[in-house]
Symmetry: C2
């Protein structure tokens, strides 16, 4: 006899990208970390934290994070809810709004965790394939009438983005919440913040994991109307954001100059990497994120990933029907890219019968 709910027993757990042991000598291009360290100002806050800040419970709503986001993004702090990474906020959203008879809707392929979270809540899932050019199928998403609709924008693993205007059409058509998951927005051309003025049902999610080089810190935030955040807070752990992410993350948020510099560097290197991969015969989708969706010549993505891994280079392969021929490759440093291109040249050159 199981101790667990039957729905859970049959659930396939979400498997995050591989995290090698600390100190392992690998080139890690599989989970979209920033290749550059976090803001020195944030690190200074970490190293100067008073022990008493660890001793006491943190403030339940991470007030410092709310204030910092408010200043940087230009919203009132009451429109901000902090999370233990944006995964924590995704969990809150699904728990608060969905369940049997209350559907979760999203375009695919996208972040696989949305499906897992819906499965945990026993919510129906409606997956609407992106159009072949990765434009957003707005009408079909509206027709699915979700209690919760997710759009990762820029999307992962495609790296493509939908305009604010199109997202507005989607928000306008939906009765339920629309979550625009902007994990990668720092690397994109525009954001969806402007929708908040018009649409009460829009929630914007952000994270410090990619743009701020703080994946290990665990800090994300939602921006939405205070009445929406009030509902979400009912399923929030009392002290979901520790004192360290609140203090260190706020300092990182406020160091906007540093973030702008590293983001610009990544965007520039993204263009260079695209060109280099295309010169090897790869198809590369246009990216507004800090990664590229890449189809190696021949589409033998699983083998290419394996052979890269043997050379201590990690890239992401998704064991999903729509994604068997592609890899997702994080934009790294110039040195990472040289090693990657050298390895790919060796791997692709050695394969019989892999013309594009």
């Amino acid at each position: 006899m199981s101790f667990f709910r039957p729905a859970l027993d049959s659930l396939r757990a979400y498997v995050p990208g591989r995290q090698p042991d600390p100190g392992a000598r690998v080139i890690k291009l599989n989970t979209n970390e920033n290749p550059y360290p976090p803001s020195p100002k944030a690190v200074a806050v970490l190293h100067g934290l008073d022990a008493d800040e660890l001793r006491r419970y943190p403030r339940p709503f991470g007030d410092e994070v709310r204030d910092a986001v408010g200043r940087v993004v230009g919203v009132d702090p009451t429109w901000v809810l902090a999370g233990n990474g944006s995964d924590d906020l995704l969990t809150m959203l699904v728990r608060a709004t969905t369940g049997p008879g209350r559907a979760v809707v999203y375009p695919t392929p996208t972040y696989v965790l949305y499906r897992t979270l819906a499965g945990i809540e026993e919510a129906p899932v409606v997956e609407v394939p992106f159009n072949p050019d990765f434009s957003l199928p707005v009408d079909r998403l509206v027709a699915a009438d979700g209690a919760l609709t997710f759009v990762a924008n820029p999307n992962s693993p495609s790296g493509t983005a939908t305009s604010r205007e199109r997202l507005g059409e989607l928000a306008d058509g939906l009765r339920g919440l629309l979550v625009v998951d902007e994990a990668y927005v720092a690397f994109a051309e525009e954001d969806a913040l402007g929708l908040l003025d018009t649409y009460r049902n829009v929630v914007i999610l952000r994270t410090l994991s990619k743009s701020h080089g703080l994946a290990g810190l665990r800090l994300g935030y939602a921006i939405a109307h205070p009445s929406v955040l009030e509902g979400l807070s009912k399923v929030k752990d009392s002290y979901n954001v520790g004192a360290v992410p609140a203090r260190v993350g706020s300092a990182a948020l406020l160091d906007t100059q540093y973030t702008a510099r590293t983001v610009e560097r990544i965007r520039r290197d993204r263009a260079l990497l695209t060109t280099a991969l295309e010169s090897l015969g790869c198809r590369v989708w246009p990216s507004q994120a800090n990664f590229l969706l890449v189809r190696p010549p021949g589409g033998d993505a699983a083998r290419v990933q394996d052979e890269l891994e043997q050379r201590q280079i990690l890239v992401r392969y998704f064991d999903e029907p729509a994604l068997t021929e592609v890899l997702r490759i994080t934009v790294g440093t110039s040195a990472d890219h040289r090693a990657l291109i050298d390895a790919l040249r060796a791997i692709l050159g050695s394969t019989p019968g892999t013309s594009p």
Copy 2:
């Protein structure tokens, strides 16, 4: 129209104890923090953390925490699951095992969050009152046949504890999981670890918030059979424990000498505070935790709490029918206790008609 599930709209959110602003000059005896700072070795780890540990995603299962708990507690690391505070693990337990038709059962009065978490999952709740002497009503708990049964041990707010033997009788009678929430066990006479050898349905929960002076860090852990932890992990956020709590918390766990010293000091001061409160006419229940359940003479607990707060002394009053006449007071430093006793003497002495 609400965006949320109807059950959530009617849910009363859990309200944690008040957290004053950092730097506020209060004597804080309301949320059971340790009055002493965390281990200097843990603080040294915090101040020496490499920025690269913040940049990368942490290991999904907090391996360092598993190893540290394994060594300190004497279990295999595969029997340990780390959480973002033990609240995170409570949430996982309720999400994984309960729901409509799958009851949550616990003796009352106890940690109010159990009720809130059950409400979120729309699970039936069976509250079984403790016996008047706070001994455990084992037969009635067994009869309630919960999918999940919680026993906080030592219990909050009573501070009383149930023997391992009695908990074994409960585990033996139950078909569902029995969670022994040992948040305060460091201050108690015995723990329930020995039950794990016999009962597959037992989960032990611990936290570093009280015994290790690390409430702000957010780190707790569950100890249970690996098959139970596997089920729980399906509802775990991928990276629920950040790099900082994993590294700093592990160092704190391994500094067992420091923890033993501060815990011994708190136990000694608990006895002294009990005597002092009794000399003012308070009823004080025998405590195995780092707090005391106290009935002021006259039972006018709400007023006493208010007047203490006016004097910058925070204690906990619960707005619950069974607890209207009592306060929960955290064991602090000797100086905290002198201030508390002086204030209580003034408050109680100034009240007409409050003989016990």
